[in-house]
Symmetry: C2
């Protein structure tokens, strides 16, 4: 019976939609319930305590939607609350960090792995790699759609200067960053392999559901339901860019 | 007896400390209780409904601290929840918009007044002026301390291009903007008068307290107490830059 249940995904806001996009690619028949905590986004600048509190509330919302598993799409949430949620929640919980680390180690030829993320993710130390850099202005630029601007190019250059020439693999440790993957790739050079944790966790999820006979074996396309804690006019526009498709079922909720 | 009570000030986060700085200059003997809702900052990108909800909770916290009046330091809060709080709260409530408008009208020679602010403040229409521009990336740049960067110069130029040459007076309609007043002033030219709503509201507050015999007539320097809903390591560093002095009494609270 569990096969038919949806996959629950939560994020601090919109960023997790880049993860949903990858889950849909890997598992097109699965129903997905998404919660974006847009009333309290961003998580990346906040403390471990408050991010954990918010993450527990997000996970409880999804549990009440009767999902078969939960994906923590947010890197900061994964970093600060991943372990706690895995230990306390009775259905499988996936974070984006563990699978991204596995993919990075497997992709890297010389073991020179770097990670970029929010201040929270980097400060947490959850990504156990040698080269790390917080890139706090990437999220606002991406959310503002300012991804072609010279200003962003200057910021990209600045943030990545400590990593350039030192790494062979970079984990894009924030859900927003795949949106500017080209810019990051150009700055670091073609030889550096970029790891998108959204792709990594989708692979892990597919393996898990297959191995445990939990795949939705219906032949129709999975349904998508989106919940947000605050709905602004700009939401749909930015969200559709992140997701790469139209958003149809969208609801504002209190959590 | 009310004279001895503190002035309550709230803001979405740190930005309101530029307002506190001006209140201290105008009213050095007053005690101030400040609440920064750092767990849910920023307000400028959120909906009217959620900003109003958060603002009511902020005001209630200050009421419980037994303040003699409340200053809404946040422009977005003033825009969305100012009227509501003034109507429902029994002590005097000051927003930053009304006094800034009065000062702008009085300063402008040709009535060509512009305002810049968050998306929320601009969309609200609370500043009734002809020239308006949302500058959503200013806040992240300022909070990151990236105020000398070429990237910010590009963004300043871009955002102000619709106002340049058209206005004689500009309201800096977000508490963060006075931090980059020089940059804004240089871009618009020396003839454009910049209005800092923090200075405007401090003047109104001083008038009100004087007229109503509510000034704290003690001769000692007023005390400052700061409350935040989330305390991160970076908080004190950025906060002291905004306030222009050391922060001594700081407490994390739930609201």
């Amino acid at each position: 019976m569990n096969k038919r249940k949806a996959i629950g995904v939560f994020d601090s806001g919109l960023g997790g939609l880049t993860v949903v996009k990858e889950i849909i690619k890997a598992l097109p028949n699965e129903d997905i319930v998404y919660l974006g905590d847009t009333a309290r986004v961003p998580y990346g600048t906040r403390s471990k305590e408050i991010v954990t509190k918010f993450s527990i509330e997000d996970a409880k919302f999804l549990l009440n939607k009767n999902v078969k598993c939960i994906v923590i799409a947010c890197n900061t949430s994964s970093a600060y609350a991943g372990k706690y949620l895995k230990q306390t929640i009775k259905i499988p919980v996936f974070d984006v960090i563990v699978p991204a680390m596995i993919d990075a180690k497997s992709a890297s030829k010389r073991g020179k792995i770097g990670v970029i993320g929010t201040r929270g993710t980097i400060a947490s130390g959850a990504y156990k790699v040698r080269y790390k850099e917080a890139c706090p202005l990437f999220v606002p630029f991406i959310e503002e759609g300012e991804i072609e601007s010279d200003a962003l190019r200057i910021i990209v250059k600045k943030y990545l200067s400590s990593l350039k020439g030192k790494i062979d693999t970079l984990i894009m440790g924030c859900t927003h960053y795949p949106i500017i993957e080209d810019l990051i790739g150009k700055e670091l050079g073609k030889k550096v392999i970029l790891i998108n944790p959204g792709i990594s966790v989708s692979g892990e999820l597919k393996n898990y559901l297959t191995t445990n006979n939990l795949l939705n074996t219906g032949y129709k396309k999975g349904s998508l339901r989106f919940f947000v804690t605050d709905l602004t006019e700009r939401f749909v526009k930015v969200a559709e860019q992140f997701l790469g498709q139209k958003i149809r079922k969208l609801e504002e909720v209190k959590i």
